[in-house]
Symmetry: C2
Subunit: 523 residues, 2 copies
């Protein structure tokens, strides 16, 4: 036990430390508002000034974090006897501090220049379907990121170091095991779905009257007015219980959510011919914002009031999007609301809406347009390729062919161009290697959390059918949101679900859902 | 002459200095976006986080400015042989540096706490018409601001020190002389208008058919839809040549403009029964934003790309609002555009619109609702009262009576409550003493600049009638906007107009305009 004197001493130190941490967070949160503004409301020509503002804020928060004072405070607090919550704050800041101080400023500068340069090259390469334009900058980025990883931890697998930037507490082995299980179980499931589809087509059962056999895929066909779609997106958010006094809805070309527990905003987008897409994207972004809104007010600007990492964040968006928004009872609840905005949906049935929201594509090449199953094979392909790139087992020039081969092997489709192949995603041009896996880990965790919530509270079907989401949300608040970064990710998962991180629930969920939907005997 | 060696040495120092200055500006500009966001789009409950973000940014820019390094760089550059533009940057930063380093942090803190505390007290006092609630905090603020002025310059008149915070290069004597001239010439002009009005009323000429004698005051009577008013506000901005690629229009409870040369935004507000008010307010804010947009891109984030002080800024808004927007040819140009949005304006004539936009009130107590003439008496009253308060010649408890007496003396109306008397404005609750005069100085300068532009280019009447504003704006760009803070305010005025700052043009403008409008023999 620390003496009273030592306690009060470390308490003064802790306060100094905390106010430093809050300062850094407030600078980052200000930058978050500037980025929201840039995506949503900034006039076109505002970029030069905005770029300078953001770069200034980012270098200020880097300097505050890596200052000698931060290191001294950390060392002092680590040898003190702190209450658990404070220890957690120290643990989180220590991680960030070690990482940011280990990488030389000139390397950060070179990476920043290389990514600034890479982005237009990637755009050009994608537009012209010309991988050669992108290859040299991709090569440079892989090299720089390897160098970066070497600084952070010279003894570790460099890909593991990069992955841990996005997911600090899930080890790469766990992630890899999960992704392998997804690949090994989803490939046969998707094959079975394809076969079932083929068989039905061959038997000529594709007639309008034979609903028993054919799935509805196009319940939302038509062209839908933007303003009405926006009104419906607001209905979605109302219905899920979004707190408008701490949020807002806007449009952005690439929907995202951002903010803090006091102000967590959602963006979405509207395409006239993709009403379903705007609904599911709005539900997805609600999941992110709803997590942010559940962080405790009193932890604002410290790790105790900040979200755990990307997989946990994605678990929240996927839980709402898939387990709620792509469920039968949700469409029983929501279809009447949608019909009020769009009377042309009069003939759509809840079952037709459910089927349309859950169709599995047999020829989709594009990750962001993928369904709940094939999505993960898109991720597995990127994961396998970027691991090989970073380890040096794969040369940049061979990426297109390997990419196409893997699409053929896992998904049964072969891209005809690199634009719809390995050039489709922006992430590598940002120098982001190790990011993609967190999308799949999020889906897997969503299923595990949803199952744990149902195990504790009973099935949510009736609640969802009645548009009653308080129990589910209350469980998430209590077991996930309110803890911020108080626990590491494995601790958080264990406390919430009573188990270690596992893909069991996700696999059970998709096999049962799609087995029933596609009437697959073996599932 | 400096040697080549010294030149290149000071050039390296200058670059270091400039990057420091840019950093400070970028932090302030980021804060500007956060404030815009707060006024325009932030959800209601976002305040606690926003307050922390803004306070963090403000203390970071204070620390960067007042750091020893800034002082050392300033001293070094002041002894170097710098080109004029660089000397101007050094001059501006020196001013700010001296002021911010001379005031102890704990006093800044006390002022900040006192104003935070004063604002709700002022609101409460105004709501309850109870000056006693506000008096003690007003007393405290006057005392703190006196103390503040004592730190900045113990030898100067404290009110002069406070005034120079808003208007660093116009001396208080000049400001006072201008305000006295306004008072001495506007009081009889307004009296003459009142007499003319009384005479017409007495002669019973107030009949609908007798347009010759009576002025139209209500051409815009009616109730006007918000969305249509917004469309018309966009028409106004289109017509004046607002650059939408670097700006946007939104609504805010208290209209304002803010931003930089890359992104200068306008806000306005719409009241169903005040169409004219939304038009003139939009033109006013256009004037501010148009100044900002005229600052040179290459000076961004340094004083060379930042606006001169409040009076010059206000000269731009008033020039567009009054000399353009309240002119006869403007209404000949704009009325047909307004009629497209509001067919109910069919019977309004350009002359009727002109008269309505220029009526002089005989019983208005509220500054923000005042006309082009009485406005300045509202300012003179505040100026006289706050000077006496700061010097100690007037006790806080006597403010309401002195206020009411002055309204009776200068404007011929006596407030019946303090809510519509000395409690009407927010400024004192912010601790802003010395701010009000800049509003009148801006109007005066607008007239001087407009006259100089017409002397060079010929009268703008025909241009305005045709909605052609390029020549006027080109003149303002060349003579005012592009210089940023390159020259001091007196230098800027002298270069633009060939004369020292003078109220002559303003007085000539209002006496001629209102003499004609009210058919006053003596004018």
């Amino acid at each position: 036990m620390a003496s009273e004197h030592a306690q009060s001493e470390s308490s003064g130190t802790y306060e100094e430390f905390e106010s430093r941490v809050e300062r850094i967070s407030n600078v980052s949160n200000a930058a978050g508002i500037l980025r929201w503004d840039q995506e949503v409301v900034m006039p076109d020509e505002g970029t030069p000034a905005r770029a300078q503002q953001l770069s200034t804020l980012s270098s200020i928060s880097h300097e505050l974090l890596t200052a000698d004072e931060t290191g001294e405070l950390l060392a002092e607090l680590e040898s003190a006897d702190l209450p658990d919550e404070r220890s957690a704050v120290v643990r989180e800041v220590r991680r960030q501090y070690d990482r940011e101080t280990s990488v030389p400023g000139e390397l950060v500068e070179r990476i920043s220049t290389a990514t600034t340069n890479a982005h237009p090259k990637w755009k050009e390469a994608k537009a012209n379907d010309d991988f050669e334009t992108f290859a040299p900058v991709l090569e440079e980025l892989v090299e720089l990121k390897r160098e970066y990883a070497e600084h952070v931890d010279p003894d570790a697998d460099p890909y593991e170091v990069l992955f841990s930037e996005y997911e600090p507490y899930i080890d790469l082995e766990t992630a890899e095991r999960v992704l392998e299980r997804l690949r090994d179980r989803l490939v046969p499931l998707i094959d079975a779905i394809d076969e079932s589809r083929e068989a039905r087509r061959a038997s000529g059962s594709r007639t309008q009257s034979d609903d028993e056999v054919d799935l509805e895929t196009d319940a939302f066909a038509g062209s839908f007015d933007d303003d009405d779609q926006e009104a419906l997106a607001r209905d979605v958010l109302d219905s899920l219980g979004y707190d408008w006094s701490r949020g807002r809805l806007d449009t952005a070309p690439h929907p995202f959510s951002s903010g803090t527990q006091f102000d967590a905003r959602v963006t979405t987008r509207f395409e006239p011919e993709d009403l379903l897409g705007s609904i599911t994207s709005t539900i997805h972004e609600f999941g992110h914002a709803n997590y942010t809104l559940g962080l405790p007010d009193e932890g604002y600007a410290t790790p105790l009031g900040e979200a755990r990492d990307l997989s946990v964040h994605e678990s929240q968006s996927r839980l709402w999007e898939n387990h709620v928004g792509r469920s039968r009872p949700f469409w029983e609840h929501f279809l009447p609301i949608a019909r009020e905005r769009f009377p042309e949906l009069e003939d759509v049935t809840p079952e037709g809406a459910y089927e349309s929201a859950n169709q599995v594509y047999d020829d989709n090449l594009i990750r962001v347009e993928a369904d709940e199953l094939t999505y993960h094979l898109h991720i597995v392909i990127r994961f396998e390729i970027e691991r090989a790139l970073v380890s040096g087992d794969l040369d940049v020039e061979d990426v297109p062919e390997v990419w196409n081969d893997k699409y053929e092997e896992y998904l049964g489709v072969r891209p005809e161009t690199d634009a719809e192949g390995c050039l489709q995603d922006i992430h590598w041009s940002h120098g982001s290697f190790g990011y993609f896996p967190t999308y799949s880990l999020g889906s897997v965790l969503a299923a595990q959390l949803y199952a744990a919530a149902e195990a504790e509270l009973g099935p949510f079907e009736d609640d969802i059918r009645e548009g009653e989401f308080d129990d589910l949300n209350g469980w998430l608040r209590e077991n996930v949101h309110q803890h911020g970064k108080r626990y590491t990710t494995p601790e958080l998962i264990e406390r919430a679900t009573g188990e270690a991180f596992t893909a069991d629930y996700f696999l059970e969920y998709v096999e049962s859902k799609y087995g029933e939907l596609y009437d697959l005997e073996e599932y």
